[in-house]
């Protein structure tokens, strides 16, 4: 398989992860921070950027962990525990580094890092990467695409919720209720993309 072909398939996987197989709107992973941090576009962008960064890096790290450590040692069944440990350690480490060396970045991005240590979308991406047997290039595309898709969804949701803030909503539906309904409608919208790309 030549390089340009691999690059092409990585690109396809990336677009599929953003639109047709959006991790948030088709598998409903990472809902907790999606619901709680989607009140303002500004904070949604901050959290979304942090997710893109962490998801790209941790899927790559976990790809290496899986294929270079777990498979040779035949302990693939430990991937759940080890993926989570890798993610937690990576996020902690990056938070310390950013806090020390780039205060401006820390204030715009770093403060969201603790929120996503236990985000199930991050672990979900690593596990899908294994199930779908992605190559290294495809993993990069998938990690970045999943993060970007998650960010797209939360920023869109924050935009909608900012508009809703001035609208009158029945009392029983205020807050999480209306947010879940919107999430459902957005998911329906994204399912409309499914036929566009025939890749998983």
């Amino acid at each position: 398989m030549n390089l340009s072909h691999e690059f092409g398939s990585a690109l396809v996987v990336c677009f599929a992860a953003i639109f047709t197989g959006n991790i948030l709107l088709t598998t409903f992973l990472g809902m907790c921070s999606f619901l709680s941090v989607s009140r303002e576009v500004k904070t949604a962008v901050g959290l979304g950027t942090a997710v893109v960064f962490v998801m790209t890096c941790t899927t790559i790290l976990n790809w290496a962990m899986y294929w270079l450590v777990l498979v040779p040692l035949q302990i693939e069944f430990y991937r759940f525990i080890l993926f989570i440990i890798v993610i937690a350690a990576f996020v902690q480490f990056i938070e310390m580094v950013i806090e020390r060396y780039s205060p401006p970045l820390y204030y715009s991005l770093g403060i969201f890092l603790p929120l996503i240590t236990v985000n199930c979308a991050i672990l979900g991406a690593a596990l899908f990467m294994v199930i779908r047997k992605y190559t290294f290039m495809e993993t990069i595309g998938y990690g970045f695409g999943s993060g970007a898709g998650w960010m797209l969804a939360i920023v869109a949701m924050a935009g909608i919720r900012q508009k809703l803030a001035v609208n009158r909503i029945p009392q029983g539906l205020q807050g999480p209720g209306i947010t879940l309904i919107i999430a459902g409608l957005m998911a329906l919208g994204f399912i409309g993309f499914t036929g566009v790309l025939q890749a998983q």
Partner: protein, 365 residues
């Protein structure tokens, strides 16, 4: 069996390696060295190991910045001016700071981390705040759910406070509460009496500190409080005063009246005390005596629904104020009570022409 042990060993080794990296990073990356905190341009300085939040560090240095939420960034009380070294404003602080406060470099001490030398500014009063150990000298039952607690100071032996200020009483861990909490109560006693303070406390059903006071605290017990805090005090003018406070809100008003007597004030003052029933009135004799000793003071108890024979004012306390005055543009008002009561009073007072800047209040939630 061997395979089982090997796999567990491998997983543990990977986890230990990652933990090792983090410990290493903590040691070398998160090490900010010693940082110097300068308070009020050199009035006080101290050096601490960097990396911790400012609020906890200040409290550790016995500088009691008020805080109700314990540093979770939800109450917005721990405001201090950080002149140098705080870094940009955090999204977690934004909701609590007005545009004017942001321009003045006001920050929430619980959100600011000490990463380098800091220059901060706190109200000078705060530097006078101390932690006091005292014994409960006397408990007086005032009504069915209000008691006065007289606390005799042990260490430090004396307190200086301004009439109207409050103290934060510490409720320690006790059978019904698993954490230490501080709660604010206005000081009701004579400011000249430096060896003791008196707090008027109403039992709040389910309240951590008031339950402690009512069910566990006995005469002779030791308690701790810190203080004094607060900007609520008598303004230095000669304008006639209206005071409105019901229940335990009487505490700062009583203190201010005592202070007026101490300095021989001849200001015109009228105190409207609101109660639901006649049995909720207290300290009436003390107020009657002040009517004798202060030249222009009147005590006006207002009872909403008198259950026995009652010759005084009835109805809501705000209605009594409306009946008594037609124009309040030259008056000053001193309010103490729940947010709902204070907001209602402000509406009535401004309707009668009082400027908002002349309304002083102490809101307790």
């Amino acid at each position: 069996m061997l395979a089982f042990l090997v796999t567990v060993g491998i997983v543990s080794a990977i986890a230990a390696a990652l933990a090792g990296i983090l410990v290493f990073a903590e040691q070398f990356i998160s090490n900010y060295g010693d940082c110097t905190v300068d308070i009020n341009a050199g009035t006080r300085t101290f050096t601490v190991k960097g990396g911790k939040a400012l609020l906890g560090t200040l409290v550790g240095e016995k500088l009691f910045v008020p805080s109700a939420c314990g540093g979770r960034g939800t109450c917005g009380y721990c405001k201090v001016k950080v002149l140098e070294g705080a870094g940009p404003l955090l999204p977690t602080e934004e909701p609590f700071l007005s545009a004017a406060e942001r321009a003045a470099n006001v920050r929430l001490a619980c959100q600011v981390k000490i990463r380098n030398d800091l220059k901060i500014e706190v109200p000078p009063d705060l530097l006078a705040v101390r932690e006091f150990t005292c014994t409960v000298a006397r408990i007086t039952q005032l009504t069915h759910d209000i008691r006065a607690y007289r606390l005799a100071l042990i260490d430090p032996p004396e307190i200086n406070f301004i009439a109207g200020q409050y103290a934060q009483l510490l409720a320690p861990v006790y059978p019904k509460s698993s954490e230490e909490v501080y709660r604010a109560y206005s000081i009701a006693s004579d400011p000249r009496d430096k060896k003791a303070i008196e707090l008027i406390i109403r039992l709040v059903p389910g309240g951590i500190c008031t339950t402690y006071c009512f069910e566990y605290l006995k005469e002779g017990d030791q308690v701790k409080f810190n203080g004094p805090y607060g900007e609520f005090r008598m303004a230095d003018t000669t304008a006639p005063m209206i005071m409105i406070a019901g229940g335990s809100g009487m505490a700062p008003i009583k203190c201010i009246l005592q202070h007026m007597q101490n300095i021989g004030s001849t200001r015109d003052a009228r105190y409207f005390f609101g109660a639901n029933q006649v049995c909720e009135l207290f300290e009436q004799d003390w107020m009657k005596q002040r009517e004798q000793t202060l030249p222009h003071f009147a005590f006006v108890p207002v009872v909403l629904r008198p259950e026995t024979e009652w010759h005084g004012e009835t109805g809501l306390v705000t209605h009594a104020v409306e009946r008594a005055y037609t124009d309040l543009s030259g008056h000053e008002a001193y309010l103490c009570g729940s947010p709902g009561m204070i907001d209602a009073c402000i509406v009535v007072l401004t309707k009668l022409g009082m400027p908002k800047t002349k309304i002083y209040y102490d809101k307790f939630a």
